[in-house]
Amino acid sequence: MTPTARNAAEAPAGHRTASRSGLHARASRSLVVLPGRAPVSTTPKVSLNDICLTYGVNTKGRLIALDHINLHVQPGEFLCIVGPSGCGKSTLLHLVAGLHRQTTGEVLIDGKAAQGTGTDRILIFQELGLFPWLTVQQNVEFGLRMAGVSKAERESKAADYLRLVHLHQFRDNYIHQLSGGMRQRVALARALATEPDVLLMDEPFAALDAQTRDLLHDELERIWAETGRTIIFVTHNVREAVRLGDRVVLLTFRPGKVKREYHVDLPRPRHLEDVPVATAAREILGELREEINKSLEAEYGNETNR
């Protein structure tokens, strides 16, 4: 384990330490943006201020899903969120998308309190949420149709994005006629087609084979670079996070807190198989593993007999 993962208290804000792994870690709650990448004065595109969110579970009590989250995403930033299963990643994205209400704290979009959903923030759901009553093409066109885009434009856009995800041949299929990975790609195309300011992606490549995923990584990076969109990308694949992100945020087990952030300083284009990417990922993974082990011990400790 390299010593690049340090507390912000130790590392002065704005000060960067070059490291072998190309990572700059900062402890949670000290969200100083690195100079040169995005000036501090910019209003963050998305701000989560001291967010807590609890779920009521049956009658047994409440489950704290998110615990005092502070997170600021700059316009045009590619932020990746990693964390153990069930730590609150999806919940966090739902919150930003305006589909859930936080229990306390506030969500700001462009510095203004978020009011429910908005087409400026499109989410790719982990459960996909495709509409079974529409064909693949109609699914992809859905957002455009809601926005009142003309039929011709809708069709051409849908065709573009369907080609992007290699599903143009399947445009007239219904969802149940697709394989798992194909469905995931439809969801991707559907979200991309609306061309939102903020793209919220919840494990969008989890069901894809390595090759397709690689191709889509490239395409996503290209789109991001060309259009300057803000992307919040949830994944359980740390290497993917390092491959794509400007910054990687690591959430703790349960309740979900920001454990640590890493700035990924590797030059683009990067590739999953690049050695620096692998090295950086291994570093984060180590930290993550530590975290999970702690939590697992706590879980087993709770139980009497095994």
Partner: protein, 253 residues
């Protein structure tokens, strides 16, 4: 081929059983009519055009009344499902209001509309409206959250969400509601046509009963069943089949 064979078999067995029962004279023919008696009644009815007219008149009423029920039932159902106020007030009463027999609406229909077609339509609508409403409301309530979340996320709000997400997603429920509504509408129509002599099938049925003419009663029953069968085959079955194809739902194994 096999399907047709089964049909033929089924109905042949039914009719054969009827013939045998009638031949055995377990019950006197004036209460258990013979197939040929009913056949005669049917023949006579069609020959003097009274059945044709009754079918035309009743179907017209059904289409208008049922059509109104479907439209307003859906609107009401969605309204209830979307408004806490409506839900808590009218919503709670839905099932009970739907339980009110048509006989309750007859005096009101006469009072408001007099002896007009509208009175009959009113009875039909009151009888079947809430059935569609109930299904619509349940459909809306039992909707998996993910659909409306995805819809809202993609920019559908208010009416658009309703039209493009809630409605199609509740379609499986709506189909049940439509079927039940159709049955309710028929039953109410028969009641409604009792208000005054108004040519329809309900009238014929009532006459048959008033005259204790079981052959006529059964002839009209057969007509109602046949009409229902046609509508079911043309409308409901088609919708269901498309639903199954699109959604990839379980076909009758």
């Amino acid at each position: 081929m096999k399907r047709t064979a089964r049909y033929v078999l089924f109905y042949s067995v039914l009719i054969a059983a009827w013939v045998i029962l009638a031949k055995l004279k377990v019950w006197p023919p004036y209460i258990f009519p013979t197939p040929w008696g009913v056949g005669e009644a049917l023949w006579a009815g069609f020959a003097d055009h009274s059945f044709w007219i009754a079918i035309a008149v009743s179907m017209k009423r059904m289409l208008i009344g049922y059509g109104l029920s479907v439209v307003f039932g859906m609107i009401l159902g969605l309204g209830i499902a979307n408004s806490k106020f409506l839900e808590e007030t009218v919503g709670g009463l839905l099932v009970s209001l739907q339980s009110l027999p048509s006989i309750c609406w007859l005096p009101i229909a006469v009072l408001w509309f007099g002896l007009t077609e509208k009175a009959i339509l009113f009875v039909v609508v009151m009888g079947s409206l809430l059935s569609v409403t109930i299904s619509m409301e349940t459909g809306r309530k039992q909707l998996p959250k993910i659909y409306s979340m995805a819809g809202r996320n993609l920019g559908a709000g208010g009416f658009q969400l309703l039209l493009h997400v809630t409605l199609p997603a509740s379609l499986p429920y709506i189909v049940t509601g439509l079927k039940q509504g159709w049955a309710f509408a028929w039953r109410s129509l028969i009641s409604g046509e009792m208000i005054f002599v108004s040519l329809g099938l309900g009238q014929l049925l009532m006459m048959g009963r008033d005259l204790n003419d079981m052959s006529q009663v059964i002839a009209v029953m057969i007509l109602i069943i046949a009409l229902g069968y046609i509508v079911d085959g043309l409308v409901f079955k088609t919708v269901e089949k498309r639903l199954q194809e699109r959604w990839g739902l379980a076909p009758a194994s």
